[in-house]
């Protein structure tokens, strides 16, 4: 029972991190009509960026501020250089992001190295939680990820800029006709998506091994969250990310991790065929 609780908690922490990546994936797909294969690599860049900041002798919180800011600028630049010229064709844009993914991975391999690295969490120790000693950092990570998620939804629903983003997603042509600067919105959406994924990478960096292939492994899970949650349903995506991750975590108590992954994939196929609008969407 303790083991299952532990696995479920770990699943919850990872689910919130995956939600951070999947949200960006979903808004980029919703607004720009781009399936961003390089999105997992933004997550990887966050973790690697955090490692570089710590290696420079700076504290963890500096990474937490600096890396997402750099990520915003980087995301905007990438959108202008790589995505914007091919945005007219969704298929070409997928291919372009595949090229981007190769570039990001190889740049990291050239500078950071191919060997996996680990960093120690900024807070260590354990607390007793329902009779189980649980890692404090993971709780902090879960709290921080939830706070960023909440901030994201407040931004999207309460600010003028967020309202414009939702308008463009709802009806691109109408939004442009009403004078919403769609190019700015596209750039900002991509930048925010990239930055939020990097936050996920920073939060995850002390609890994973950091390497240039980190993004390749996590991307499929994020796509599953987007599909199971329903394309365009952002709260659904978060719920699906947590659901997938906790379920897989608990399943690993009984079967091998790959078996748990196959079960999730099958579940996703069923969702796609029976409820293509997603598990948490109406109509």
């Amino acid at each position: 029972m303790d083991l299952i609780f532990l696995l479920a908690m770990n699943g919850l922490v990872w689910g919130l991190i995956i939600a951070l990546i999947a949200l960006g994936l979903s808004i980029i797909l919703g607004l720009l009509d781009v399936i961003n294969i390089a999105h997992g690599d933004f997550f990887m860049l966050g973790a690697v960026g955090c490692w570089f900041v710590l290696a420079a002798g700076l504290p963890f919180w500096v990474a937490l501020i600096l890396v997402p800011l750099v990520g915003l600028a980087f995301g905007a630049l990438v959108q202008q250089l790589v995505i914007k010229p091919v945005q007219v064709s969704p298929s070409l844009s997928i291919v372009a992001t595949f090229g981007l993914s190769l570039i990001l991975q190889e740049s990291v391999r050239a500078t950071f190295g191919a060997a996996p690295q680990r960093i120690s969490p900024p807070v260590s120790g354990t607390v007793e939680l329902f009779g189980v000693n649980y890692d404090v950092y993971r709780l902090v990570a879960a709290g921080f990820a939830s706070a960023v998620l909440a901030g994201f939804f407040i931004f999207l629903n309460k600010t003028k800029f967020g309202t414009r983003m939702r308008a463009v997603r709802l009806d691109k042509d109408m939004a442009i006709a009403l004078g919403i600067p769609s190019n700015q919105i596209f750039m900002a959406t991509f930048a925010i998506g990239a930055s939020v994924a990097m936050v996920g990478g920073i939060v995850a960096s002390p609890i994973t091994s950091i390497e240039f292939r980190l993004g390749i492994d996590i991307l499929p899970l994020c796509f599953m969250a987007v599909i199971i949650g329903g394309l365009g349903n952002l709260p659904g995506t978060v719920a699906a990310a947590v659901l997938i991750s906790v379920t897989e975590g608990v399943l690993t108590a009984f079967v091998e991790p790959t078996g748990a992954r196959i079960a999730t994939l099958l579940f996703m196929c069923v969702v796609l065929l029976v409820r293509p609008q997603g598990l948490f969407s109406r109509g």
């Binding site: 595949f98 090229g99 740049s107 196929c269």
Partner: protein
């Protein structure tokens, strides 16, 4: 009449150029086992074999994207199925070469039929994602079924030996013999692809690609057309996977991963989607680039990434598209050659 005569006189020179290039290519491919080792080393013969195999794999992606407008990031599934069908039937079941080859044609084709039943019903984004998901499911399945697939280590086997009538045999240990076998199979598959895309089915494929709504309104069964293309593409990818397993004497679980599908997509885009020989041009140039760059620089994939992005931006029809545009300019005609 006057204008057509004018065109004919102008096309004469480029047409000659195309014929000369084709003859050079054919002569080179037929004499490669003797010419290539004489010029440099036997190593390059294997590189050419590899180019042929990846051309075939890219052709599979091309059938779907170039002709029917469906971008599949999951062709790795059928590539992996082809490779593992050969490895499993020969290693675990002890089958001979020809029965194994037959199985390698049947299994990926049937697999494509089953996946296609679900996948081609979906709209573009869902199709992209679902094809990836299916290939991932088999990747994890292959990784977990260690006793059958060898898990992360893959499944190695001895160099195949094929019996022919009259006591003849094909010895794959001989790089030249292996090369001719691969060349023959790949040429046969490209001929088949040519026949398919220039048939009535091929016309309906492009009709669905250009406007599936209109195609369905004039009476095409869009679902069936897409399904046929998906099955044919699965067959091509399966044969490519089988050839690659025979060539490397090994089946690896990584063949199922979406990054393998990505390679096929890259070769197709760089070469030119929708052109018969686009995949060949793409696979040949990217692999050539890899062989030259990787010796000099470990991170050569960076260059490949940049080329992909430049291609999507400036040459969405790839090298074949550029070539066709040059020919069109030479002949003064606006149409594709």
């Amino acid at each position: 009449m006057l204008s057509s005569e004018k065109n004919n006189s102008l096309t004469a020179a480029p047409r000659k150029l195309v014929i000369v290039l084709a003859v050079v290519a054919i002569v080179f491919l037929l004499t490669a086992p003797w010419v290539v080792p004489a010029l440099s080393s036997k190593f390059w013969l294997n590189v050419i074999s590899e180019m042929l195999i990846w051309s075939l794999f890219a052709a599979s992606v091309n059938v779907l994207f170039g002709y029917v407008g469906l971008l599949s990031f999951g062709q790795a599934l059928f590539f992996g199925l082809g490779a593992y069908t050969y490895a499993i039937t020969t290693v675990h079941l002890g089958w001979g070469f020809w029965p194994a080859v037959a199985a390698c044609i049947v299994v990926p084709t049937v697999g494509a039929g089953l996946v296609g039943l679900f996948a081609v019903r979906l709209s573009a984004h869902y199709f992209n994602i679902l094809t990836v998901i299916f290939s991932l499911a088999f990747f994890y399945l292959a990784v977990s079924a260690k006793e059958i697939t060898g898990g992360d280590d893959g499944l190695p086997f001895a160099a195949p030996r094929a019996e022919l009538p009259f006591g003849w045999t094909i010895e794959f240990r001989d790089a030249g013999v292996q090369y001719f076998f691969i060349l023959m199979v790949v040429v046969l598959c490209f001929y088949l692809k040519h026949r398919v895309v220039s048939s009535r089915l091929g016309l309906s494929l492009t009709a669905v690609r250009d406007n599936h709504l209109r195609a369905s309104l004039v009476g095409y069964n869009v679902y069936l057309v897409r399904l046929s293309a998906f099955i044919f593409a699965g067959f091509l990818a399966g044969v490519a996977g089988m050839l690659f397993a025979i060539f490397s004497r090994y089946a690896s679980t990584s063949y199922f991963y979406y990054t393998t599908s990505g390679e096929g997509v890259v070769y197709m885009i760089v070469g030119g989607a929708g052109h018969l020989f686009g995949p060949v041009i793409g696979a040949t140039s990217v692999i050539l680039l890899r062989e030259f760059l990787s010796a000099a620089w470990e991170n050569y994939l960076l260059v490949v990434g940049v080329i992909i992005i430049l291609c999507t931006r400036y040459a969405p029809e790839g090298l074949a598209g550029i070539w066709a545009a040059i020919l069109a300019r030479l002949t003064g005609k606006g149409e594709r050659v």
